[in-house]
Symmetry: none
Subunit: 199 residues, 4 copies
DNA sequence: AGTTAAACGAGACGGTACGTCAGGTCTTCAT
DNA sequence: ATGAAGACCTGACGTACCGTCTCGTTTAACT
């Protein structure tokens, strides 16, 4: 969606940038629910059609605005220690996605994806799947190196690792903290769900 | 919300029931996004005001309709085996919340909660928190019985257990299956995230 | 169109009145071409839908507003002298339809009727035909009384009598004057189109 | 307006012709009300700017298209008999302006003139005034020859002669017929509005 | 023949208004 | 005196054209 710029010139890019900015600004000011294409257009000093020419819905604009704004580095490091690397990446991810102002906005985006299949598809293709692929690749390497059980279903492992974050972000009233990452990783890698060791 | 029935008589209950039914029917037919109070009123043969008198928003009606429709038993059994009991309850829960037609509707409800704080609060109070409390109680019992590590943060453990389901329901395009419950429980209780046992 | 008031109460009449007033005011201020339903609604302090509920187009609102505002007496007197009676009625009519502010507005209405068949039909039914019928009746009486030739096609005679006014109003840049009525009547009844009498 | 061709070459004339044709075609297909500069440009295979370079508004394009298409001979013959000559010219004029497809289009043009002063001015200068001037000249000759009363106000006489046609074209639902010309001329020149001759 | 400047098609652009839909409030009437 | 019906104001929707403005591309006149 970002790349359907008109091939004609650089005007398109300028408009796009101001629309993205206006979208984020407004979303933070009034919340996603009260965001409107009309409002974005007015704030960006742009005709409504200029928005509809590029995006099919308010959700799509918002998705682009949010994703392009958090184009930070969420890649996995490789130190040879899968636990340390996971902790590092997840801490970065949660710091980005759970801290103001992006936490509520990202939650709103995931929420909108439940109502709009197009947003869901784009969110998956543009953000979720790439992140999953990178994570799976790192886990696979660790598994090959003997750091993870060969019986581990990596996709399920990933859902478990990240699931706690989504569970808390989307269902609990309290904000998610980066410290929760440590709790998750310690629980999964050190403590375990089984009965006490000494038993 | 269900209980602010008019004290006058039993007519209120009838209206409420027909509104709930109309809401669910419409939600399944056109999807949550295209649901409207206007449509619900028309379908239920009821004035709009009769709905607004009871609920503050379409999300609230939908929440009531959905929760009251899945008023099934999601309690935890007690057989003395925490793994078996968790498996039993989670299987029931996922069977209910992930299978058609409730899967997408429940996802839509969680999605709406991201946009509407009132819905979020009600969903939490009426459904999420009670379920969490019951789960925590069961886990606590297991911990006291020595079936779970004393180091386990039960709230985090719960987020991990259920998180995988929410992660997959809300982010992945594929439907969630009850078989995933077994995978989660096996992964957490049997396989573990650590290096292979024999290592 | 005026009478499709809701049978429910008197609110409708109030809204209708304020819409009519706003329409006329705006039409005089900015001209018919720049009149808009949106503008009328804003000026009348009314939702657009309240207008669309009653009228199908801006032309229809304008027609109602204009016709109901000039609900003056355009009936024919009966003094026994057809020439005097025609002069009287036509003078009244032209004084109303040709003088500010109604002259240009009435011309605009006739103009709109050329673009919108619904406006044309309503204008004809509500205004043109009733006026024609009254005029024909008066002319018929005069014919029966021997004041008009029996060979006279009354419908054509009427078109000729009034035609000059419409010709000048719609085609000439200059304003139409009530004095033109005398000229028309004198030309038709006194001077005639034939060669000079003495010839 | 037709003659502000580019001094550069003959391309301009080609474009103008295709624009005129597209305008008339579209006007007949969808009616004047739904005509748009955008539609004309698309139909003519021409950029919008090419139209705006030549004409200030859709009304102006339409006026040019219509007038240049009916560039027939509406001049007055001179046989020495004013009644015959008037009958001849008016029959030609009405045959042109009242018969399909030009009748409704010409009415639409007169209608548009009521909304757009520029169209009104151009219509007057380019069509109405020249026709009036020719008619006045012919009437003046007849008056000088003793075929018309010296008391006759020729401008008013003209308005009366043509007025019936405009009255019927613009106000009545029925189509105007060339036979009406005979009725008008017979009424004015033979029958007269006065009382029966024998009286 | 090569250069240059206009006219050109295409269509993006900021706007205005369209006609529709739903939100949430308020009034009327029937039961 | 409760509730169905629905009028009402508001605000946003997504669309259609407006008239202006670049874009590159012909195209014809003038070097």
């Amino acid at each position: 969606m970002t790349d359907n710029l008109p091939s004609r010139g650089s005007r398109g890019a300028d408009r796009t940038a101001s629309i993205m900015r206006a979208t984020l600004d407004l979303a933070q000011e009034v919340g996603y629910a009260k965001l409107s294409v009309e409002g974005i257009a007015a704030r960006a000093g742009v005709g409504k059609h200029t928005i509809y020419r590029r995006w099919p819905s308010k959700g799509a604009v918002f998705l682009d605005a949010l994703l392009s704004s958090l184009d930070h580095d969420l890649n996995f490091p490789y130190t040879g220690d899968i636990v340390a690397d996971l902790r590092e990446q997840m801490t970065n991810a949660v710091a980005l996605l759970a801290s103001p102002p992006f936490g509520r906005l990202y939650a709103a985006l995931v929420g909108e994806a439940q109502h709009d299949p197009a947003v869901a598809a784009t969110l998956y293709e543009r953000f979720v799947k790439p992140q999953i692929d990178k994570a799976i690749a790192r886990l696979k390497t660790a598994q090959d190196e003997g750091q993870l059980s060969l019986d581990l279903d990596l996709r399920m492992a990933l859902a478990i690792l990240y699931g706690a974050y989504y569970h808390n972000l989307l269902l609990l009233p309290d904000a998610v903290s980066v410290k929760d990452v440590d709790a998750v990783i310690d629980t999964l890698f050190k403590i375990g769900f089984g009965p006490p060791q000494g038993a």
